[in-house]
């Protein structure tokens, strides 16, 4: 404990001494931010500079980060798969048929059910709006994708466990995630074939302020939104399945 306090004090001292070399907060000095703010709207016809930086100027970094997300979803699903001794113990314990499980789980109240199932539609529309308008207003593939991924959660909260399992364990979700990740790669290759550099912006740029502006930025936005939404649905399903199977088979 003493050792930790001592080393933390030394580390804190060195860290703060290193940070003293930075410009004081509020007086940003560097040239890149200013250049991008002036130039990006004329060059790419988008109004959201952060999305343009994410998907066009530094598009290669975002490709790597998206594959981090992809691989960790794969890792999470592999780690949380049904082990062999779990399956054996569940077959031994269950003696009931499959018709009584829903009566064992506690039913949510009517107010909860009305509210959650009524909000699923507006949430999906809002998520799609956030994905599609990524290059115009704050938003984009990542934010809209995670919003879309919480829509099946509302179905789970409303108590409809069988419907939730039907929605989220479908192979279509896995195909959608692979299509999103592969779509990003394919758009990069289109840039290579038509423009000479990987991920170059080769689609028609359109008018500033319209929803199809930005060329490949809009397309990459859609692919990323698809991949992030499907990835998070798979991850949440892998976590929920740990507790769901026991409830569906008539657990406590």
């Amino acid at each position: 404990m003493i050792f930790f306090l001592l080393s933390a004090a030394v580390f804190g001292g060195v860290y703060l001494w290193g940070l003293k070399g930075l410009p004081p907060m509020g007086h940003y000095r560097g040239p890149y931010g200013d250049v991008l703010n002036q130039v990006a709207t004329y060059e790419r016809h988008v109004t959201d500079i952060v999305t343009a930086v994410n998907f066009d100027y530094r598009g290669f970094d975002t490709l790597g980060e998206e594959f981090i997300l992809f691989m960790s979803v794969v890792g999470g699903t592999v780690l949380l798969r049904r082990q062999r001794e779990e399956e054996k113990s569940e077959h031994k314990d269950q003696a009931l048929s499959d018709e009584s499980p829903e009566r064992q789980a506690p039913e949510p109240s009517d107010a909860t059910r009305v509210l959650t199932l009524g909000l699923v539609g507006p949430l999906v529309v809002f998520g799609l709006y956030m994905v599609a308008h990524g290059q115009l207003t704050p938003g984009g593939g990542f934010q809209g994708g995670v919003i879309l991924a919480t829509a099946p959660l509302l179905v789970y909260l409303g108590g409809d466990l069988k419907k939730f399992k039907q929605i989220t364990s479908h192979t279509l979700v896995e195909v959608a995630e692979a299509a999103g990740a592969g779509g990003y790669l394919a758009i990069g290759f289109a840039g290579l074939i038509l423009g000479g550099a990987y991920l170059r912006n080769v689609a028609a740029l359109g008018r500033t302020g319209m929803i199809n502006s930005g060329g490949t930025i809009a397309l990459i936005n859609l692919a990323t939104g698809l991949e992030v939404a499907a990835g998070f649905v798979l991850l949440l399903y892998a976590f929920l399945e740990q507790t769901l199977e026991i409830r569906l088979r008539g657990g406590k």
């Binding site: 940070l19 931010g33 500079i49 994410n54 980060e65 979803v73 892998a238």
Partner: protein
């Protein structure tokens, strides 16, 4: 007084590290890791801020207005998604650990078997 955000970033880092070092539960450790990662957000944010600047979104606002740095915000965006996935993977590992060793205490783990 304009050194304050950097001091906050250093404090968040140290308190997160303290939580990790003195933790007796793996889930508590994962949450302290999330706090530690948020210290980098504060640092990046305060580097890119400009007094009197507005958000780097020019929908309805003329292009020449003073705005904060967009490159740092792009870095932070991907960082947040990576934080969520790291926490997910670590929680899955903690679950498997509990299934095999029946404990969540880092101090009680003996040498690796197998």
């Amino acid at each position: 007084m304009s050194f304050f955000p950097y001091a906050v970033a250093a404090w968040l880092f140290i308190i997160g590290l303290y939580g990790i070092v003195t933790s007796r539960n793996f889930v508590h450790l994962v949450i302290c890791l999330a706090v530690l990662q948020s210290s980098t957000y504060v640092l990046l944010l305060s580097i890119g801020y400009r007094v009197g600047g507005t958000a780097p979104v020019f929908a309805g606002v003329p292009v020449g207005t003073l705005a904060v740095d967009p490159v740092v915000q792009a870095l932070m965006l991907t960082d947040i998604v990576v934080e969520a996935t790291v926490v997910a993977l670590l929680l899955a590992l903690a679950l498997q650990l509990h299934k095999h060793a029946n404990t969540l205490d880092p101090d009680k783990l003996k040498a690796l078997e197998g």
